[in-house]
């Protein structure tokens, strides 16, 4: 050990035991059942991004109602999917948001449903916004929505930094090839940052936002919401 290291060790202050004990208590109290569930909190993160989509629609002047699979209004018991499912499933009264802009076709924002891609292969879409008439047909006929019926979609990743590997980004590039059409927006959203993922998307000119978490000092949730607002604004201009 060098003299400098010996000096540093001599003057080092041990961590405050009270602080450690309060961290232990707060940590235990912060762990919701959603984090312990098999999805490891991923459903919760999808719900968060879904709520940003809805906030963006409201900011652009939409009226929003929450409805279940039978189109009945929902106001207090909200049910969401914990693993990807079928838009027409009536096993549980899954909630979606009905978004209505003046003089535009109504839309629906869902969480975790299957969508049929260009190749007709079925893909999971974490947060899709679909034309409401198409969604109604899918529920009636028990079929998956087609990617052409999406206005926007977001792929959500709730992982720590190291798990955000380039493999996830490669798989997203494949998904975009399958579901992206003209005038349709696809976003890759993650709670952690990853240099390799960001580099890949920047190179391939994909829409992405990482580090999206409440109270982010760089205001990235607001930036993402602004991107969603732009998608809705363009939709209104095209459709009205």
């Amino acid at each position: 050990m060098s003299n400098l290291e010996l000096l540093a060790k001599r003057f080092a202050v041990a961590p405050d035991p009270k602080l450690i004990s309060s961290i232990e208590q707060s940590l235990a109290a912060s762990i919701s059942p959603l984090l312990v569930s098999p999805s490891h909190g991923a459903d919760l993160y999808e719900l968060y991004i879904w709520s940003l989509v809805i906030d963006a629609a409201r900011a652009e002047g939409a009226s929003v109602e929450f409805r279940d699979v039978h189109s009945a209004p929902v106001s207090s018991s909200f049910v969401f999917r914990t693993s990807p499912g079928r838009i027409f499933s009536k096993l549980h009264p899954y909630t979606h948001a009905r978004i209505v802009f003046d003089q535009c076709p109504p839309l629906e924002a869902h969480v975790g449903i299957f969508v049929s891609g260009k190749s007709k292969v079925i893909h999971e879409c974490d947060v899709p916004v679909i034309y409401a008439d198409a969604a109604a047909t899918c529920r009636l006929e028990e079929v998956h929505p087609k990617s052409t019926q999406l206005l926007l979609s977001a792929e959500c990743k709730f992982y720590v930094q190291s798990t955000m590997g380039v493999g996830l980004a490669r798989s997203y590039l494949g998904l975009v090839t399958e579901v992206k059409h003209t005038y349709r927006e696809c976003y890759f959203v993650a709670v952690s940052e990853s240099n390799s993922v960001e580099k890949l998307f920047a190179h391939h000119q994909k829409d992405w936002e990482t580090g999206v978490a409440p109270d982010d000092v760089r205001a990235r949730p607001q930036r993402l919401r602004a991107s969603f607002e732009k998608a809705f604004r363009n939709f209104k201009l095209r459709e009205a």
Partner: protein, 157 residues
């Protein structure tokens, strides 16, 4: 804080996570800490040659060329603590802070519930508005304590 203090704390936090059912997060933190830190390293290496032209090559000393490699060094215990704090903020603190944001979008339903239910036989999770606010409040407290801890780790560097 010494390196040994940081190492003990890193292990303690991972144990707490495992004790509370977050084995997956403890494993992700440990994996990220084990990855080490990559940095570019310039090395002088002998240039390659095509063995097919070996006989035609004039006899001269092999040329050496500077080439960039990626060097990975293990993290110090304090750096491992940084990884742990960052992960706890990204996952545990964020998950708590997300809840009131969702409730606000849903119109702050008094006495409402959020259920996460699978179409398959996975267990369902139901969270009341009150529980959501309790988790959120604990997460805000945890965030402050992690900020203090982060400063302690940095001060001792």
């Amino acid at each position: 804080m010494t390196e040994q203090d940081a190492e003990d704390l890193f292990n303690r936090i991972n144990t707490i996570l495992r004790e509370h059912g977050l084995t997956w997060l403890a494993a992700e933190i440990a994996a990220e800490a084990a990855e080490g830190r990559a940095s570019p390293k310039m090395l002088s290496v002998q240039e390659g040659f095509d063995p097919a032209f070996l006989e035609e090559m004039p006899v001269r000393p092999a040329r050496r060329k500077k080439t960039e490699f990626t060097h990975v060094r293990p993290l110090t215990s304090k750096e491992k603590m940084d990884v742990s704090i960052k992960a706890l903020r990204a996952i545990v603190v964020s998950s708590g802070k997300i809840l009131p944001e969702i409730l606000r979008t849903l119109g702050d339903p008094h006495g409402g519930t959020i259920s996460l239910v699978s179409e398959t036989d996975s267990p369902s999770t139901v969270l009341s508005e009150n529980e959501a606010r309790q988790f959120s409040s604990a997460a805000i407290g945890l965030n402050e304590q992690l900020r203090t801890l982060s400063e302690e780790v940095r001060r001792g560097s």
